[in-house]
């Protein structure tokens, strides 16, 4: 879109902008006042554990859940009044596949396109193109039920593309998939990004967030606790490297007091100690020099998991 | 086998209201509408063996009700045991064999049909639908006819792997015509002679004949024995077939 310079003229506003956005269910605030802005062409992530308010936020953006308070604009419009117009221009990949099990792969794409009011000829051609994109062409006329989890997920993503959306909402796109299927999906999403499709992704997988997101917010308890690019967040909230020390069962108690001062920061987890330092190798030598002998050690780069641990004091994946 | 029945009983206690309705009360509604309402338009005559229409139709409605509920209970609910709820698969993971499972299912059905029959019989009594004490036997006839029709349907369910569309076709082309053309509402003599063989092979007709003999009296013992033999043969054949298919489906 930016190619012919029209997009900028037509849409000076951000793709999504929320201010003091709140979603309450009964008395409980699932989303407790967040500010968020997603720009055209970027891949934006909501990272957080289950129950952090990611999906509620996504449903508000998808115009299928009215906000309880605050302001929300999607594609410059108000979901309250312009729901159908907004939904016509976005694509949604829900957390759980809701493919139409009474239809074939091809029919799923065609019928879904018809919901958008697209012409029969258009959806017929579009279905062929999307099946190629999802690598499902040889399953075109099969029922949906026997497909593997990865195939169903790819079909759901393909389906969300049927109206050539400007904005794609992906709610935990790869949860429950095996590593191979995950990498295939990531490849596809990267491809869409290259084509200029703005993406909003929720995930509790920090590796996925690092792979896919240009910018992300970390959510916890309905609130945003940090915002930035993955590397920026790591730079701000963690060190370059992490040294992990594992001890024999029952031997970990008290060890931290002997090595805590060797690192910028430390975390005590039930099964291991984490020492945050810019040079892991040097820190490990210092640990050994103190006569501390863990059964195993690991030096790795900091990840978003460490950021999350720092921000909330809890591990991301329970 | 009894454990299986106990499991069903636990379920029944939860859902007895809705399920009692379909198997027990529905035939009564039919009796009120057809026996009393429609019957008010019918003159007792040769067609009803000289009886009031209420007396003519009451025993047959019990048997027809048991047949419909037996077939209904053996279609989607049994398929669900294999396919959706998969409780049959869970049950046969225990020492219970598929044969015992089938036995439990049939026993449970028999209990329900008997219970519904008794309720129907008692309420029909207040309508004045019964003429002789022999009418008590109609409940038993209902149970046997219901089971005889249920067993082949269970076999069909055990051999069904899709969503069970064939049951819809079965209800439409077997159950409904059987209900209408088995001398339930009008005597077999009114059916054109060329089509009467269809009634002869209908288990419900055989059940209706025995039930009427019990409730109204005056029948040939030999004919009754013949009708009974037909039902028992169907029951045995159905159970054997269902047993074979239960094993095929559950023992892999």
């Amino acid at each position: 879109m930016a190619r012919d310079g029209e997009g900028d003229e037509r849409e000076p506003h951000p793709m999504v902008s929320g201010k003091a956005l709140v979603k309450r269910f009964g008395g409980i605030a699932a989303v407790a006042g967040i500010d968020v802005e997603v720009r055209r062409g970027e891949s934006f992530g909501f990272l957080g554990p289950n129950g952090a308010g990611k999906s509620s936020t996504m449903r508000m953006i998808a115009c299928v859940s009215p906000r309880s308070d605050g302001e929300l604009r999607v594609l410059g419009m108000d979901p309250e009044t312009d729901g159908p117009r907004i939904r016509a221009r976005i694509g949604v990949v829900p957390q759980l596949d809701n493919l139409d099990v009474e239809l074939t792969v091809r029919q799923n794409l065609q019928v879904y396109g018809r919901y958008f009011g697209l012409s029969r000829a258009h959806v017929r051609a579009k279905a062929v193109e999307l099946m190629a994109f999802a690598e499902l062409s040889d399953r075109a006329d099969d029922q949906v039920e026997p497909l593997s989890g990865g195939m169903k997920r790819r079909l759901t993503i393909a389906r969300s593309m049927v109206n050539d959306p400007e904005l794609l909402l992906l709610d935990e796109p790869t949860t429950g998939l095996d590593p191979q299927a995950r990498h295939l999906l990531w490849g596809r999403l990267y491809q869409l990004k290259q084509q200029g499709v703005t993406q909003i992704i929720t995930t509790h997988d920090m590796h996925e967030a690092e792979q896919l997101c240009d910018r992300l917010v970390v959510m916890d308890g309905g609130q945003i606790v940090a915002e930035g690019s993955p590397s920026n967040l790591i730079g701000r909230f963690s060190t370059r490297e992490v040294l992990e020390l594992r001890f024999a069962p029952g031997k970990q108690d008290g060890q931290i007091t002997r090595v805590a001062d060797l690192a910028d920061r430390h975390e005590v987890l039930p099964d291991r100690l984490l020492l945050y330092a810019d040079d892991g190798e040097a820190t490990l030598e210092a640990v050994h020099a103190r006569g501390v002998r863990p059964v195993s050690t690991l030096i790795r780069r900091s990840t978003l998991e460490d950021v999350f641990l720092r921000l909330t004091g809890r591990s991301l994946v329970e | 086998m009894w454990l299986r029945v106990e499991g069903h009983w636990a379920w029944y206690r939860r859902y007895w209201r809705s399920s009692l309705y379909s198997s027990g009360i529905e035939p009564l509604l039919f009796l009120a509408a057809m026996g009393l309402g429609f019957g008010s338009q019918v003159e007792a005559g040769a067609a009803t063996g000289g009886h009031e229409y209420l007396h003519y139709v009451a025993p047959a409605l019990l048997v027809a009700g048991a047949t419909m509920s037996g077939m209904g209970e053996s279609s989607f609910p049994v398929l669900s045991g294999f396919k959706w709820q998969k409780d049959y698969i869970a049950v046969t993971a225990t020492p219970i064999t598929p044969g015992q499972l089938l036995g439990g299912q049939m026993l449970w059905l028999a209990i329900r049909l008997g219970l519904s029959g008794v309720i129907y019989g008692l309420v029909a009594l207040t309508f004045g639908a019964w003429l002789r004490p022999g009418a008590v036997l109609v409940v038993g006839v209902g149970v046997v006819t219901g089971l005889a029709c249920a067993a082949p349907v269970m076999a069909l369910a055990a051999a069904t792997y899709d969503e069970g569309r064939r049951f819809v076709v079965m209800f439409r082309f077997v159950m409904v015509p059987m209900m209408l053309f088995s001398a339930t509402f009008f005597p077999i003599e009114q059916i054109p002679i060329g089509l009467r063989w269809l009634t002869w092979i209908s288990p419900l007709w055989h059940g209706n004949e025995i039930a009427r003999a019990a409730a109204l009296g005056g029948s040939d013992p030999l004919a009754i024995a013949g009708h009974g033999a037909f039902l028992l043969a169907l029951l045995v054949a159905g159970v054997l077939l269902a047993r074979k298919l239960f094993y095929r489906r559950l023992v892999v």
């Binding site: 879109m1 012919d4 997009g7 299928v64 729901g83 159908p84 117009r85 939904r87 016509a88 221009r89 949604v92 829900p94 809701n98 493919l99 139409d100 099990v101 009474e102 239809l103 029919q107 019928v111 018809r114 919901y115 958008f116 009011g117 697209l118 193109e129 994109f133 109206n163 959306p165 491809q191 084509q195 200029g196 | 859902y15 809705s18 399920s19 309705y21 379909s22 529905e26 509604l29 009120a32 509408a33 057809m34 309402g37 008010s40 338009q41 019918v42 067609a47 229409y53 569309r165 819809v168 076709v169 082309f173 409904v176 015509p177 209408l180 053309f181 509402f185 009008f186 009114q190 059916i191």
Partner: protein
Amino acid sequence: MRTMDTTQRAPGLVLRILPFGRYTRGPGSVVERSMRVHSRTWVIMVSGFAEPVVYLVAFQIGFGALVGQVAGPGGQPVDYVAFVAPALLAASAMNGAIFETTYPVFFKLRYAKVYDAMLATPLGPVDIALGEISWAVIRGGAYSVAFVVVMMGLVGSPFALLLVPAALLVSFAFASVGMALSTFLRSPSQFDYIRLMVMPLFLFSATFYPVSVYPDSVRWLVQVSPLYHGVELMRGLAAGVLDPSMIGHIGVLAALAAVGVAATSRRIGALLLG
């Protein structure tokens, strides 16, 4: 992905060429889905045509022979088959509509999440309600035509053709109420409650015998039954006895249809747009 690139510009283009309101056709696409689903089960669809024939034959050779003549519309005696056939058509329109909007709707709403998927598109709850109800009416309408054709062979009044639109109205009324009720069901075993409502309507709405059979004290109860209004409307039309009370019957059915559509839309919104 050459093709993806060329269509990438499509949304902007489509939006500029067509104003939004003209390019979504709401309920139509929901009906289209049902047609696709059922294109594979046409055998069952066709088998549905046989059912009314079976009933009519049973009434012709069986029940009709037991009864002879009864008091028809306007009081003149009519053959029993001519009396019962329009009522059977009304009852089968009701049964078909209820069947089509209960289990299938429950399945799509609670298990298959078909409506969740639809609501992620420009479609809204009203589109879903109207689309699903329309499908039930279309399907019921096809059966009604078959029924009327068979019936004209038996009864032979040209007025019988008027029964088709009347049957569509009955379908519409019961489909929309049936769908509204389905949204309240939580487990499949609760379908028995729907039977609990439908079966007495079927049996006691003056379907099989004149309403005069009932004692005066319970007659009003029969007249409350929505099916009774369908039965009376059709019986009058079939006999060619037009009566101002028909406007009342039509009004009751139309009101039921409207209430059902509104209630269905509200419920779908309340359940899925939380």
